[in-house]
């Protein structure tokens, strides 16, 4: 095992050296950093050319210049020596500093998107696998491929036009017109119909009920001015919390396990009861407090599950803890909605809350809730854009892997020995289906830091992607190399991790030392 890791690390270093040399040469050959100065009529042209030549060591041939860069970069390997020198960009800013700023921007942009894409993608994949060849399966497959093949710059522009500009215009006078209501009702009805099973008569009924409900809710919301003054209120929270308790129990323990169901319901009840008492505390929230509250909620769930007793406390605890977490999230969402009017009317927002660019409103000055809302509204569109294109691969992979598992002998054995379908799916199939996904997820998390060149540019995030693109455009090798070093190292490390994780998850695979 150790020899295996060492061997992999040694190869990784060699790969990095070779690849960085190639990238350096390619970047150096991609253009002439002096072009703009050569076509400059100012009298001090020579002086400017000399200054830039000196800055970028242009009088040294590119293959040798690489070693100048490598010498500085090698300093990064000495810990605590502060000798890390990845060069400077054309503005004289150290690349190390530039990388720090860019990484923060990139991570803030892509982390949530990647996590959501994994969550939604895997869920959809599993569901479609369980309903293979159903309308839902075809529908999801179609949508997945459609979004996958959308060029992101185009999708992003559409999102801006309708998701931001159009939606903000709508908010000026937040009434959903009748035609839009009808269309939305039909869409939701169709989705519900696709998800539902059974005879056609029943499915048409589902369609009708969902469509009618959607239409009524939309009109109600628009009449009551909900869009400008949103909120859930204790009643909606209570109903949803009960629903969550049932849903979570169904998945984690099965409704037959009364102890688990009651634990979940009690937790939900505690959450609803706490709704009013906790409001003053929430009004003074800080990020740390929210984390502590989340931990406290889970702890309450665990306690309730534990004290409920029964033959399988683990199931109680899981159901109750998950319910507690989700009910907590519900109360949070409600609190965010309470802050919405204040955010909406802020002078910096000017009643147009969904922005098209950047990570936050400059000089936005608000409490925890409004400033979090500000960050969320900024991340909304880029996150949707990123999810739309990356969801496809997760859906397809998890669907395929789930289908393969569901046809295996041990699933048939599990069914034959009388296990409920829930246990078969959740315990036996689902876990095994996730093993091959571990590799892909590890890769994608490694790729996170590389950023998203186009999304960053369209939404004006100056992350790693735009640092790379900008460096390449201005034939500035140092930022490109800085980018490459970071991305290359993470890719290699996560590649190694993926292999190790795989062998840990799947005992059939052994790393050969």
């Amino acid at each position: 095992m150790v020899t295996y890791i060492v061997r992999r690390l040694v190869t990784a270093v060699l790969i990095l050296l070779g690849a960085s040399f190639l990238v350096y040469l390619l970047t150096a050959a991609s253009g002439d950093p002096l072009a703009e100065l050569r076509a400059n009529p100012s009298p001090n042209k020579t002086q400017l050319i000399q200054q830039r030549t000196e800055l970028l060591h242009l009088n040294v041939p590119a293959p040798l210049r690489y070693f100048i860069w490598l010498k500085g970069a090698a300093g990064c390997l000495i810990p605590f020596a502060n000798s890390c020198d990845l060069g400077t960009n054309l503005q004289g800013q150290p690349v190390t500093e530039q990388l720090g700023l860019a990484m923060v921007q990139t991570l803030s942009l892509v982390t949530v998107a990647t996590l959501l894409a994994i969550l939604i993608g895997v869920t959809l994949g599993i569901i479609t696998a369980l309903r293979q060849y159903s309308a839902l399966d075809y529908g999801v497959t179609f949508m997945a491929f459609l979004f996958f093949s959308l060029p992101i710059f185009w999708a992003a522009v559409l999102l801006k036009e309708y998701g931001a500009i159009g939606f903000n215009n709508f908010l000026r006078d937040a009434v959903v017109p009748i035609p839009v209501t009808i269309v939305l009702a039909l869409v939701f009805g169709l989705i519900a119909m696709a998800v539902s099973t059974g005879a056609w008569k029943r499915r048409w009924m589902v369609f009708g009920i969902t469509a009618a409900a959607t239409a009524i809710i939309l009109q109600l919301l628009s009449v009551t001015g909900w869009f400008t003054n949103p909120g859930l209120g204790i009643v909606v929270i209570a109903i949803t919390a009960v629903g969550v308790a049932f849903g979570i129990t169904t998945l984690s323990a099965g409704l037959k396990n009364k102890k688990a169901l009651y634990s979940a319901l009690i937790t939900a009840g505690i959450g609803v009861v706490l709704y009013f008492p906790i409001q003053p505390l929430l009004a003074a929230a800080t990020p740390l407090m929210i984390v502590l509250l989340a931990i406290a909620a889970i702890a309450v769930g665990i306690a309730v599950g534990y004290f409920m007793g029964g033959y399988d406390r683990g199931q109680n605890i899981r159901s109750a803890a998950l319910t507690a977490f989700l009910v907590g999230a519900l109360i949070m969402a409600d609190r965010f909605m309470q802050s919405w009017p204040e955010y909406f009317n802020n002078s910096k927002i000017r009643g147009r809350p969904i922005p098209t660019i950047g990570a936050s409103t400059p000089n936005f000055d608000g409490d925890f809730w409004t400033s979090s809302l500000d960050r969320m509204t900024h991340l909304l569109l880029p996150t949707i854009a990123l999810i739309l294109i990356s969801i496809a691969s997760y859906t397809r992979y998890s669907r395929g892997s789930m289908l393969e598992i569901m046809n295996m002998d041990f699933i048939r054995t599990a069914r034959a020995k009388g296990l409920s379908e829930r246990t078969v799916v959740m315990r036996h199939a689902f876990r095994n289906a996730l093993i091959p996904l571990a590799t892909i997820v590890a890769f994608d998390i490694g790729g996170l830091i590389g950023g998203a060149v186009i999304t960053e540019r369209v939404f004006s995030f100056s992350g790693m992607g735009s640092m790379f693109a900008q460096g390449l455009l201005s034939v500035d090798p140092n930022p490109v190399m800085g980018f490459f070093v970071v991305v290359g190292i993470t890719a290699l490390v996560f590649n190694l991790l993926a292999d190790l994780v795989y062998s840990a998850l799947d005992p059939r695979v052994k790393v050969k030392s």
Binding site: D32, R38, I357
Partner: protein, 595 residues
Amino acid sequence: MRFARISKAVGVAAVAALALSACASTTGGNSSTSSAGGQAGGSATVVEVNGFSSFNTNTANGNSDINSKIDYATHSGFNYIDNKLNVVKNEKFGKYEKISDNPLTVKYTINDGVKWSDGAPVTANDLILQWATFSGFYNDSKLNDKGDIASGTTYFQYAGDTSGLGLTEFPEIGDNGQSVTLKYSKPFADWEIAFGSLVDIPSHVMATKSGFKDADALTAFLKALPKGNPEAPVTASPELQKVADLWNAGFDTKTMPTDPALALSNGAFMVKSMDPEQSMTLVKNPDYNWGPAASLDSITVRYISDPAAQIAALKNGEADIIAPQASADTVSQLKALESQGVTVEQDAQLAYDHLDLNFSGVFADANVREAFMKATPRQDILDKIIKPLDDKAKVLDSQIFIPAQAGYENSAKNNGSSAFDKVDIDGAKKLLNGATPTVRIMYNKDNPNRADAYTLIAASATKAGFNIVDGGLGKSDWSKALGNGTYDATIFGWTSPGVGVSSVPQLFKSGAESNFSGFSNPDADKLMEELIVTTDKSKQDEINTKIDKLIWDSKYGAPLFQSVGVDAYSDKITGVKYMPNQTGVWWNFWEWSAK
């Protein structure tokens, strides 16, 4: 037992609640200070392409468009340039007057009451520091053939031209340290814009940060230091090197400096906050009364590189003023916003494309050059490339002036360019007299405008009997090929400085560095020698008009068109005016006001 459990649980919960309230935010859910930006003066959001990177825009590293714009908004000086490219004096800041023409002597006096945002007055010390950095007085470096410094030291990495102020000796300080007098060893045409336009680096900060007692001590030190002599380099002065290091790199930052002294203002606005690569915020300088008074209270600058994203931000109300790179797409998208109250302005920029013919090879014969110019479809090129962006655009008719300058009209009328207004294939054929010269045209293939211009010229010239060879090179190679003799004609662009004449000899004097086509005319040379020592604006225009005519008469080639700039602003803002030079819309930021 059960009771004990419950009470324990309650106890734990109580402790937890206490712990949670302990970490509550102290500001305690107060509503945001929502009216902060919405007072009388109001605010505006301006979009820029690049991120701010330095408070010293005079260095080679810091000399970027955005740094200069912020520098302009946060500092003041003796003059500024308006959008008609005139130098406008700011007498509230101080006075400068030409005391004598020969030797050229200029006296700069700063008014009392002009001060930095830390309260220190702006004095002659600040001007001396600027002189020391802009003149290259102390440099004794010599370059070798490869462009490396062979001997001596270059202290200040000044991005501008040191040759003008290099003609002066250490300035004389007077009026209780409020004035300096510069004496030039020979007249210098661009004296007015070479010094004092913006006084942007505070001497007292430089002094204390590089180990001097105060600004006076720094000035005394500079005064005692001898002029550098490249022929006899001496060991670098460690004290001056320290000052230079601070000047060269100490002001480079992407975040608000922890030491506010590095971000001092003496202009209408002060930098309040910076968010690296995202935005920066300027607020009004409360003390400022030594220049045009600004109407806005604050200006937010946001960096957006993508033109389409800039337009979407304007449309969504996130930006008030944008100036995206002009393209047919950008312009049509902006025009579509006019119904929403957006005002769009397009006009010519200082950059212009031109066709240059070598004075050697096939073009050694003036008749062949003239024939080629006659066959060049200048109007067609304009119609195809520029008209879609700006339907008022006209063909550029001068090698020296641009239409925004006062001297253009007169010069364009008389320089003989009218002979080449229309394509004259027959005239060209007559001049060629049956010959079919082979012409290799070099241009940047990766620039669509240049490639289009090439295609049109090649098609037209072929009709006249020329044998055109496509010598287009990729973007990384074309500029290296300039002047290396591998082509006969070239299409590329220059940027007119707008103000000042120093670049004229740079382009057209015999053997000058940027004279790639080998143009040489003794009369023009003589005129250019006169030009660079002429300090009077109207006389400069007169000489330039003569040079322009000489260039056209020698069939140098033809200017084609100016590139188009565009800016747009929302109906929340008034007072924005188009500006062709690098300052862009910022040139009259004090006139911007919020509705």
